[in-house]
Symmetry: none
DNA sequence: AATGAATGAGTCTTCATTCAT
DNA sequence: AATGAATGAAGACTCATTCAT
């Protein structure tokens, strides 16, 4: 009798990571105890330590899993034959969609890592800088083709671009209710319009 | 012999606040113990609690002292008869100078409050929103006079503007050595040029 | 012009003692801080320490002031030419009236001293025993004249008599509302009736 | 070789409770630190908090464990077909034996709970009142059959009876040396003789 | 792999007491 | 006498991590 294909049972490690996202998002990394992760995952306390060296390692794993994808995406977009503005729009859209698809994970990454200057933000500085660097490369390309002005340096422009995106996500994170699809769609355009078009236009 | 005028002796409460800025900047709020503040201030442990209800209250006080000044400044700038772009430049310059003058304090405010979504950032949300609101009013004025395009809402523009500034300060905070005067001076222009001029120009 | 007689202004020391009774009764000795006493008295913090060596000394003073009167009364009653039962009734009445007249003070004495075996009860054991001794002397007299049976020792009888009184006061202390005059009046009789008459009668 | 039967190894929770009795009795609840309990039990500090929510919870547990047995016993005695006086004697004997068997535990219950009006006494008032109520029921039965006079109310008699017992235990608690068996035996009779027989007899 | 009991370092806060004025 | 700032010891509680099964 042929076994029917079924959704793969996620292994315990994955279950723990997913549970960690939930509790980190809900309570914050510091406020959450390892026991909360285990409870949310429905596994024994000690199993968290079987799969991860420490509580920190759980967050490190979550962050890197997603961040490396993002850095990779930024790199690949830059390979495409597109106007620089379209490349930035694609990046903004990717991050925007990441939040739309898994707001808890993005909340954790933003709040607990990229904005946490005294803890994980410092640890992962090289990773974060890598993303900045790739964004700067995109801007640089736009300047080389004459699409972008050279009033600011590529590095500054990249930083500003990321700063605007992070601020948008932060707004959503603080928002009470869920964000509507129209708002997600509009955000992509507003971000690019602000950074590329400027207020004076 | 005539007594030379001397700087007024700061009271103990002030000494404690100033010491707290130093240790919060150096070690981070969480990593610093109340004993560190007392030691840095050269006062007895208990005196911190004589003047402040809790460790949290020390940070609250530091934040509000400076933040209210900033909100006030933004409001007053908007009263001036100036192009909106000049108003934004003034605000950027004020924050920039705040960092130049007292980097430790600004570091604490940015890192421990405005970017700390799960702790003081949440507590002081109303204060932070008040600043956003005043920035939005400046942008709105610019749009009303036709100086600014209306491609994005005033609120979005204010948020983006603040996001860029915060990101610049964050860079400085992470930087190893001290920031040079030229960099401070240039930053004001770059921020405004980015948000107002845009990359496309 | 002749000065009119006026109520004597209580000195600060007295004011502090009276305030202490209030706050000890309200919050309990341990739960009340020295600052609470000073606040209630309307004097400066340090003045409490000008008049009293320590917080403990305040309670010691309050206790002894009243307790010595009581011991004295028990002694004097025993000098009278009265049946032993009447003597006991007088003592019960005196304590009963003490509570009626100043429930806060009696509450403090009972709760914080005579029933506090691990703190002031131990310190003032000799004082408390002195009262027991005088009660025993009364009982002993009753036995010598044949008024009382000798089924129990005078010491045991004294202890029982005091135990019943303390339990009655404890009930009042725990009671929500104020105690009515009839209850005070009846209590004196019930106490004596119980200890002298017995349940079998 | 046949394994000799051995006493079951008490679990750590029990060990902690027993250690707490010792140190509470020796130093008093307030004077004892949680570390003292852990040391006496020979376990790590944190284990106390693994089993109990707080230091208070340890005492609550100790009190209730024993008090509920006592309340139960009083209720069961009343079911027996005995003269009321015999019932009271049985209750006095049970409490007396409780002290004889485990003076530390009884000391803790009396000193730290039933006589501690401002702390645990208040918390456990309902439990204490439940015991009073059952004693009153016994007295009431004695009055209904005519065995007891109705000069005082059952509630008052119950309170007096308990007051005398508590005072006896308090004497023992304060006593320097150990109490002899004869004194324990005699106490049962003296208590009942005092409350039932009365001094006048 | 899985469990959860056991460990113990770390720190905020309280508050009685002292002291300079 | 009167004030209140200054001192610092003490202790409950948390929780990441380890470890024996």
């Amino acid at each position: 009798m042929a076994a029917r294909p079924r959704a793969p049972v996620p292994d315990k490690r994955r279950i723990i990571l997913d549970a960690a996202v939930k509790v980190f998002a809900r309570q914050g990394f510091t406020q959450c105890r390892v026991a909360d992760i285990a409870d949310e995952a429905g596994v024994a306390y000690g199993l968290v330590y079987h799969y991860f060296r420490s509580k920190d390692a759980v967050l490190d794993t979550l962050f890197l899993e997603r961040w490396e994808v993002m850095v990779e995406v930024i790199g690949q977009v830059d390979q495409q034959d597109l106007p620089a503005r379209e490349k930035l729009r694609y990046v903004a859209g990717f991050i925007d969609d990441s939040y739309r698809h898994d707001p808890d994970l993005m909340k954790v990454i933003i709040v607990e890592v990229t904005r946490a200057a005294n803890s994980f933000g410092r640890t992962h500085m090289p990773d974060i800088q890598r993303a900045y660097g790739r964004l700067a490369t995109i801007v640089e390309g736009g300047m080389r083709t004459g699409e972008f002005r050279t009033a600011v340096t590529p590095a500054f422009a990249a930083m500003a671009f990321y700063g605007v995106i992070e601020q948008v996500l932060t707004q959503w994170i603080f928002a009470e209710g869920p964000i509507g699809d129209e708002e997600f769609d509009r955000a992509k355009d507003l971000i690019v319009e602000t950074v590329c078009g400027g207020l004076n236009g």
